[in-house]
Symmetry: C2
Subunit: 186 residues, 2 copies
DNA sequence: TATTGTTATACTCTATAACTATA
DNA sequence: TATAGTTATAGAGTATAACAATA
């Protein structure tokens, strides 16, 4: 075999972007020597069926799509809903505290606050205690938006699971997820 | 109230990038008139505590970080592990079938296949039945990688939950997630 | 010197449209 | 005309470093 390695001559790894570019001529235009497996009736997922991570990724992906489809006109992402709730429920919290609460880094938090700010949903005041700090408050428009979200988002969330789970199963699932979330450390 | 709207003069919505740029002068350098809320001891999450989507997002985020930290040297993402398992377990499947199995669009699937191809993990053969189709197979190197992943990934997945859940709780959680995943339609 | 918030940058992920080659 | 695969592009998410103002 030719054993063409994926390493580049300078020894660095191929980046994903570089791979996309360099793979242009990679499809071998050779006929398959063996009988083609006609229409796999069922794809085998093997051990993936027992991996927590597999379901977390697939379900969050489904959830995000469901949410965006439902929210449509509001032009808001799940993450942003969480942030608005936290800001609204904890008036005067700082960007640092918001970062910690939502597990975002400072840069992401700033970007999100800038977005809300540009939409007129919040304002940042300089702390009188520590002038490095900002205190974040919803504006009247922000409070209106939050009220609207409170009315809608619960329904979006509930309609995601639809009738795939019974009420008690859904309750049980959320309890287990909450316990896992609370117990994750590393 | 001045009611400065977030709409631009041309009526289009502010993009996230534009918001970031235009918010430069948005921080009002005004002292807070009220007493600063000293060190919120606990952030209130309100209804978020009962939203499935909140936990799915947070936990998947944690999971991804955990996985990348554990996988480190392998330079591989959770999504890519799933793809390698499916390709290895279903030799000769087409990119279309892979897209459907992993809920990716065609472009994403091609990009991922290009990456694996550049690393020498798989090959694409032209179908002898329909020359538009490609049949995807792991190379020897791909099979070696899959064997390695099979040994490691189960451990990564199990160590994520750590001792936050008992074995039976974890089993129960995975069963509920699987049921939800199977029952999601829209 | 250290911290808060911010900006800048780069890379990954996701979605869409356009292109090719086959059918 | 339609389909399988691919490419190109843009927007959104994520991570890191650098910077200004303040402590």
């Amino acid at each position: 075999m030719s054993a063409k390695t994926p390493q580049r001559r300078d020894g660095t790894r191929l980046t994903r972007a570089a791979a996309s570019r360099s793979a242009k001529a990679a499809v071998v235009a050779r006929q398959s020597e063996q009988t083609d497996p006609v229409e796999l009736p069922k794809v085998d997922f093997g051990p993936l069926n027992h991996y927590l991570g597999f379901y977390l990724r697939r379900l969050y992906d489904d959830y995000r799509k469901h949410f965006v489809r439902q929210a449509g006109d509001l032009d808001i992402q799940p993450r942003e809903v969480g942030a608005l709730f936290v800001i609204g429920l904890n008036p005067g919290l700082t960007p640092s505290q918001l970062s910690a609460a939502l597990a975002l880094d400072g840069a992401q938090t700033t970007a999100m606050l800038n977005l809300f700010d540009a939409r007129g949903l919040l304002e940042r005041r300089v702390s009188s205690i520590d002038a490095r700090s900002r205190l974040v408050y919803l504006t009247a428009a922000g409070k209106t938006m939050l009220t609207l979200l409170r009315k809608l988002v619960g329904g979006f969330d509930r309609s995601f699971s639809g009738d795939a789970l019974s009420d008690s199963e859904l309750e049980q699932l959320i309890a287990l997820l909450a316990k896992l979330h609370a117990g994750i450390s590393d």
